[in-house]
Symmetry: C2
Subunit: 380 residues, 2 copies
């Protein structure tokens, strides 16, 4: 049986016979992973259209490969013996999520059930020489702890506040002072991907599954970036450099920005601008400050994003996450004034707060396993 896109969307690519098993393994694994509760083999068959015997053979392989586990059923009051339920294995592959930003580096380990197993954060200026070596040591420590738990780290992903090109090359990360820094595609023998921090943070929300299929994730740090999720997928742009909202012009006669233009969003709602406007020295103190200037600038920029992309949900992450209640009125006022359709916009705080980028990074690794369990089984 073939599971594929229906007519009239015509693709030129036939499914090769030898990929049918790989395809169906992914279909079964994702069906279990997307189920809120443990799900029986029969239900998987029903949901996928595969026969029960095909499902059972695939499930056996997935259990043997530590991707699925079978759990005892919940007691039922009705007649009949309830079937055992399938769920993702908590002791199989894990994703190693890494982040480097201006004033901290971090690592986390997440297992296939989505549970955070380890979280390591080190504060300090990352613009100094040796920051990448320190991050590598932190990653090794996190991996060591994961392996002590019996987990197998499937790969690593690193979030950086900059524009990333193919081959793990950071084209530019202005606030780190990086230009054309090659991080590469491997970390101590693990496959490594490097990605923009706002993109990975946006992916962390996809894993939670509480948002509509299209939303904008705004990450407030020293710089401001956005992850654009359209129809359930991250929209990366032609070169992977989408979402640079920090330089949306707010006021043509405003303060000079690092980028050379005047009055960019970052000059009103970036971390340094917010601290300066509030007359405080730490992000924690912003919780008691008047944030109208930042909120108004954010509202102006987000109105442009909404007018352009017609999304109705905006997630505020990074330093904005704990400040949503204080920023909301000013943002709403600008959106109400500037968005043509007058439709309400849902504004919410990032689910994982300041951990969003590294959680999204770990999730991206695990998504790779969910997309290609056959590759995982061949490896292990």
């Amino acid at each position: 049986m073939c599971h594929c896109q229906g007519v009239p969307s015509v693709s030129q690519a036939p499914i090769r016979q030898n990929s049918v098993r790989a395809h169906n393994l992914a279909l079964v694994l994702q069906t279990v992973a997307n189920s809120a509760d443990p799900i029986s083999r029969a239900s998987v068959a029903g949901a996928t259209g595969l026969t029960r015997s095909t499902v059972s053979a695939l499930v056996d392989d997935l259990i043997a490969g530590s991707l699925l586990t079978e759990v005892d059923p919940a007691p039922r009051t009705g007649a009949g013996r309830p079937a055992a339920g399938l769920r993702p294995a908590p002791d199989g592959p894990a994703g190693l999520g890494l982040e480097i930003n201006v004033d901290y580096r971090a690592a986390c380990v997440v297992d296939l059930t989505g549970t955070l197993r380890h979280r390591l954060v080190e504060a300090g200026d990352q613009r100094q020489a040796g920051a990448l070596s320190a991050l590598t040591r932190l990653a090794a420590l996190a991996r060591h702890r994961a392996e002590a738990d019996g987990l197998t780290v499937a790969g690593a992903a690193l979030a950086v506040p900059g524009l990333v090109a193919a081959g793990g090359v950071v084209r530019v990360a202005p606030n780190l002072g990086w230009q054309d820094i090659t991080i590469g595609t491997e970390l101590d023998g693990l496959p490594l991907t490097v990605d923009n921090e706002a993109n990975l943070a946006a992916l962390s929300e996809l894993g939670v599954g509480e948002l509509p299929p299209s939303f904008i994730y705004v990450s407030g740090e020293v710089g401001i970036g956005a992850g654009i999720v359209l129809d359930g997928s991250l929209y990366r742009g032609v070169r992977g450099w989408s979402g640079e909202i920090g330089h949306i012009p707010i006021d043509a006669s405003g303060p000079l920005c690092r980028c050379g233009a005047r009055g960019c969003l970052e000059q009103y709602a970036g971390q340094e601008a917010m601290l300066r406007a509030a007359g405080v020295t730490s992000v924690a103190e912003l919780a008691g400050a008047d944030l109208t200037i930042a909120g108004t600038a954010l509202g102006t920029a987000l109105s442009t994003v909404v007018n352009l992309l017609d999304v109705d949900t905006i997630v505020l992450g990074g330093i904005y996450a704990p400040l949503v209640a204080r920023l909301r009125d000013a943002i709403d006022a600008e959106i109400g004034r500037r968005v043509l359709t007058g439709s309400p916009i849902r504004l919410r705080a990032a689910t994982f707060g300041p951990d969003a980028a590294m959680r999204g990074a770990a999730g991206a690794v695990l998504q790779g396993v969910l997309n290609d369990p056959a590759g995982w089984l061949a490896r292990s």
Copy 2:
């Protein structure tokens, strides 16, 4: 044989057996339509992976239904008898493209080969009562001429300068003074779709096939709209209201806009603002005017679009199309200043100039036939 999306993109939708013929009819028709030259049955088989006998049976049905035609081969110098070539039929279905804008209404007929067969444009203020009735009469005239040619009009699409909701309801078209106007889904017995003019104009470029898969089409009229094409498809947004770039703020202390905000792009680069700044009364006279103010504002707004969506190609349509050479320097200067990556942006004039929206409308009708030839055959 099944032609569908490959692993690892897992879709839950199986292809139904009874849709295989419909799927393959579309595959064959699109393979011929996408070929620059007439293409033999054997080449179609090679390109699709279908057997020659399957292709021949499908081709016979498509010829009988006036969707394909067989043409004599070009003389060849090599050995062997060259095969007859297939191309889309010039005497089968046609698309009826319609447009209503502030100061004109228009209709065109395009056949399946992409040839413009009829073009009717009537100048005049469309904000008056009776504008829609006049458009309906114009549409009937265009259809009558198409039928006199032996064409069968497959459907109609209408381009409007506004936000369109389901059921052919124009939610708001500010420059026409329309609010919640129901145009409906039928025109004299023909299926009718109503869409935003910038969206349809963007589709007209997709049909030409000279652009990369992602680009922004900017339509300059009294208002300014954009059609966003990402990865070969029009991106419509959550409610179909994407691309409203006319209200990107250029200067917070600028002139008051119709929308209630200050300093929107439309106040610098909309048709009325450009005429006022140039001190002229007709669009034709803009060709001799200094357009630095409009170009700079467009460049500022397009920098935001490029920073956000990371596209590298921008098409200027509507009144901008004949003015690209005069606008280019000011646009390029702003993009050079404001786009972080410093990568060059390709800027070009709309292929169909002021006809782009109605050409795209006609093309959308024909794309419907290409996507579902089985539906067309069942109808005729």
